[in-house]
């Protein structure tokens, strides 16, 4: 078994910057750990991904973490299709941690289908080949004279069939073939067909167990007071009153630790139940030394961004042509600044984790999007041997990148180390919001100039953020966050392009949030291109197409990690969205349409949005319709795709309209859903999702539905005579009604 090893830091970079392109190349993982021929022939398990038992039930093990994005359905579809399983007999389980090569469980960057498509097909094909070989031996014919269909092997000579269930014993005794051939896509039976979520019934009957629902015998509960300022220290804690709460067991403290995951010093109340732990925590009297960085505010941060915007960027990211040679005046150019705030994940399942430490052994339960990195850091920090750490991965109640970070796992081990029982740490909603790893605040200075024919001649983008990479590694050489069109991936055909990046220090933990920098950068790019079009009195739709259509694919980056940018596919989704919303049709009075398009380059998917609004009064509007168009190559599960795109619209509208984390005195001001408001049922506009029919390799979809929503909305407002440049737009006084 050969595993392409990927340096952990590289993965971080890959996840945040360029997708996990380098992760491809993991070969089909081990077989030898599975007893091929159990004495009573209970099951046949040719590899870590699937097992068939004597009843014919097929269990498919999903390595990637399910958190709502649907991998617990899309990935099994791929396996089941290739092995011609009967979908009704398929059961899905979380692949136990440790049964697969490193990296197999990593879940982020919309990479699951992209990374696993081929190896899951192989896993299914191997099973099928062995079942066929077993049947052929029984019938004394050649394997080539057999076929597989819906959970049975078919004898193509006499058309007799044997169900897989009856071949379990014989198949398990056969050697696993080194090579198998894969189906031709035209023979797919499950791929491309609608399937409901594999755990739908469990969810709807309350049986689905998320991390927060897991109970270990003897388990106790912890609620943690964390230092309000990052980098502070605990001076003292008085638990006299807290101790009186019924159920109180113990007070535990631990120190803060730094990168990659910043753990704040904590004071944990441990109790027999979570409510008692919360109640007792309220009665603690704690003194913190807040350190010297306790006066920072987002208000000041944005002033710093503004002040820095006109100077040269700290990092030059991309240069094409030479802008300095052009004649740029106030007559042939415009400059605009765009910005967006810190954002929280706010998953519905508040952050929680379970740990038990027994001597030199440690067992963990909970959701982790990067369990290998987590385990690696736990080894470094606590000194456990790798083989002494047992990880039990759990269903996640909303991920969006939150559990790529794992400071909560370290916190929970810090507590468990001081107990002789398993402990479940739960963040209350305020903790969950305040101690998140926030998507960076960002600020963009955009400048464009045009020639005498009204053609763009230059594009200049200076991006500033509070870098994520620096949170994880302060010594990082290049902390920039320019994907999404703010580097050489800029997709419009403009002869002179310059982009750069500047990081601004800020004392708050940053992290990856669904669509990360692609969302950050597509917003100003898609608004600004629209702004230029309107300034030139051109139609923003045609203006975009004129710089996309017919443009050849170009590479972004070099070597095996290079990505491909296809401007034509970016144009095609835009055209589909425009057509479906009726962009060329006459509009009703006070109705306006805005468009935006992009490529989610490392997920190999493309999406555009078209949004129609109605203006009701100055700065007051209603969203009438949202149309999304996506090209993600071959679609595995159309139902899952639509669900992601619909949800992406809600997620992105929250960011466009009202989502904002503000910092005062280095503390997060928002403390829950009443201050960090989510989109609501009645605020959800009518949505329509359209898909480009494609046979290209399947791309990711979890994040692709977000980046063009905010710019499409802002461009609709611009069509009505406004030009919002600050997210959320309510900061500029916009109001929306349902």
């Amino acid at each position: 078994m050969k595993i392409v090893s990927v340096d952990r830091r590289q993965f971080i970079k890959v996840t945040s910057l360029s997708g996990a392109g380098l992760m491809i190349g993991i070969l089909l993982p081990g077989i030898k750990s599975f007893a091929q021929n159990t004495p009573d022939c209970e099951f046949f398990q040719p590899n870590a991904f699937l097992r068939i038992d004597k009843k014919g039930d097929v269990t498919i093990f999903v390595a990637r973490q399910e958190m709502g994005q649907g991998v617990n359905t899309s990935l099994p579809i791929i396996v089941a299709d290739e092995m011609d399983a009967d979908w009704k007999k398929v059961k899905v389980e979380i692949a136990p941690y440790g049964t697969l090569p490193e990296g197999s469980h990593d879940t982020g960057g919309s990479q699951s289908i992209l990374l696993d498509y081929t190896q899951l097909r192989k896993a299914g094909a191997i099973a099928k080949a062995m079942l066929i070989a077993a049947a052929a031996a029984k019938w004394k014919i050649k394997p080539e004279q057999c076929a597989a269909d819906n959970g049975s092997v078919v004898n193509t000579i006499n058309m007799l069939t044997i169900p897989y269930a009856e071949l379990v014993c014989e198949a398990a005794a056969l050697p696993v073939p080194a090579e198998v051939s894969l189906k031709s896509p035209k023979d797919f039976k499950l791929i491309g067909k609608e399937q409901k979520k594999s755990n739908l019934k469990d969810i709807l009957t309350g049986k689905a167990k998320y991390g927060i629902d897991i109970k270990i015998p003897g388990m106790v509960y912890a609620s943690v007071e964390r230092c309000p300022v990052l980098g502070g220290k605990l001076i003292s804690v008085d638990d006299t009153e807290a101790k009186k709460v019924a159920g109180f067991i113990k007070l535990v403290t631990y120190e803060g630790t730094g990168s990659p995951m910043q753990v704040r010093p904590g004071v944990a109340v441990v109790a027999t139940n979570y409510w008692s732990a919360m109640e007792a925590r309220k009665l603690l009297k704690i003194k913190w030394d807040e350190g010297s960085k306790n006066k920072e505010s987002t208000e000041q941060l944005f002033k710093n961004f503004e002040a820095r915007a006109t100077s040269a960027p700290a990092f030059e990211k991309y240069k094409k042509g030479d802008i300095s040679k052009l004649k740029i005046t106030s007559l042939n150019s415009i400059i605009s600044n765009y910005s967006a705030p810190f954002l929280a994940h706010a998953t519905m399942e508040p952050i929680n984790f379970i740990a038990e430490v027994k001597g030199d052994k440690c067992e963990l339960w909970g959701g982790l999007q990067l369990p290998d990195w987590t385990v690696g850091e736990i080894i470094k920090q606590f000194g456990f041997k790798k083989e002494n750490i047992k990880v039990n991965l759990a269903l996640i109640g909303g991920g969006f990148g939150r559990r790529l970070h794992f400071e909560f796992a370290i916190e929970t081990i810090n507590i468990a180390k001081q107990l002789d029982k398993p402990v479940k740490m739960i963040c209350d909603r305020t903790d969950d919001i305040r101690f998140d790893n926030f998507r960076p605040a960002n600020y963009h200075r955009m400048q464009a100039s045009w020639d005498t024919n009204g053609k763009l001649q230059s594009w200049d983008h200076h991006l500033q953020t509070t870098s994520i990479a620096i949170t994880h590694d302060p010594a990082t050489k290049d902390p920039s966050e320019n994907l999404g069109g703010a580097m050489e991936d800029f997709y419009y055909d403009v002869p002179n392009v310059h982009t750069g990046y500047t990081h601004q220090d800020f004392n708050i933990t940053r992290g990856w949030l669904r669509s990360v920098e692609i969302c950050v950068n597509v917003f100003p790019i898609e608004c600004f291109v629209d702004e230029v079009a309107l300034k030139l009195k051109k139609d923003p739709y045609q203006f975009r197409l004129s710089m996309l259509e017919g443009r050849e694919m170009f590479k972004v980056g070099e070597g095996p990690g290079a990505m491909k940018q296809y401007p034509q596919r970016i144009a095609d989704v835009l055209k589909l969205a425009a057509e479906k919303i009726g962009y060329d049709q006459p509009r009703m009075k006070n109705h306006f349409i805005g468009l935006a398009t992009h490529s989610f380059i490392f997920a190999k998917s493309y999406a555009a949005h078209a949004i129609e609004i109605e203006i009701l009064a100055p700065k007051k509007f209603r969203i009438k319709r949202v149309v999304a168009a996506i090209d993600c190559g071959l679609v595995i599960n159309p139902d899952g795709l639509r669900n992601q795109m619909e949800g992406g619209i809600a997620f992105a509208l929250q960011q466009a309209l009202k989502g904002e984390i503000t910092i005062q005195n280095s503390r997060v001001a928002e403390d829950g859903f009443s201050t960090y408001e989510l989109l609501t049922y009645e605020e959800m506009p009518p949505v329509e999702i359209y898909t480009i029919n494609s046979t290209e390799e399947p791309g990711g979809v979890g994040e692709v539905g977000l980046p063009t929503v905010a710019p499409a909305l802002c461009n609709a407002l611009a069509a009505a005579g406004y030009r919002p440049r600050t997210l959320p737009i309510r900061k500029e006084g916009f109001q929306w009604v349902v």
């Binding site: 709502g68 994005q69 139940n273 519905m348 399942e349 669900n643 619909e646 829950g672």
Partner: protein
């Protein structure tokens, strides 16, 4: 600490708890009925919604002491086999993404339909808008709500 006997999903339980302990934590931590979810604990999200005597109530806001002699229904009590019309509608539409908020979503609708089988669009909006879904399944929740209302009115 005191002893309370409560009825959940037609079964009687006796629990020892602090009188102020919210029903949510009694269900989850003591009775192991984890289908009822913790989302905020402060009346902001609706993830913890259960039925008390048929009315939708937020279990994080109700002390166990006030639950005695009440009929409590959790998502586990809607039906175990997806036969309740609301579950059926949710299944048919394929509403959930992560699924975490969905028991609260179904329970709040159950409470509304217990009171009023033919709610107006405005009544539905008002009730459903108080329950949050971070995954943004609202488009499907809306379809499922209408399907459930149709179903409930056609079978009776």
């Amino acid at each position: 600490m005191a002893s309370y006997s409560i009825t959940v999903n037609n079964k009687k339980f006796t629990v020892d708890a602090d009188p102020a302990m919210p029903l949510l934590w009694v269900l989850r931590d003591i009775l192991d009925l984890t289908g009822t979810k913790y989302g905020c604990g402060v009346n902001d999200c609706g993830a913890c919604t259960v039925l008390i005597n048929g009315s939708a109530r937020r279990s994080c806001q109700i002390a166990i002491a006030s639950c005695v002699e009440q009929q409590i229904t959790t998502v586990e009590g809607l039906s175990e086999d997806l036969t309740h019309p609301i579950q059926k509608a949710w299944e048919k539409v394929g509403v959930p993404q992560c699924g975490y908020c969905q028991s609260g979503q179904m329970m709040v609708l159950a409470g509304l339909l217990n009171k009023n089988k033919k709610p107006t669009e405005q009544q539905v909006n008002e009730v459903m808008s108080a329950n949050l879904c971070r995954c943004g399944t609202y488009h499907r929740i809306r379809q499922a709500v209408h399907l459930a209302i149709e179903e409930i009115n056609s079978t009776n």
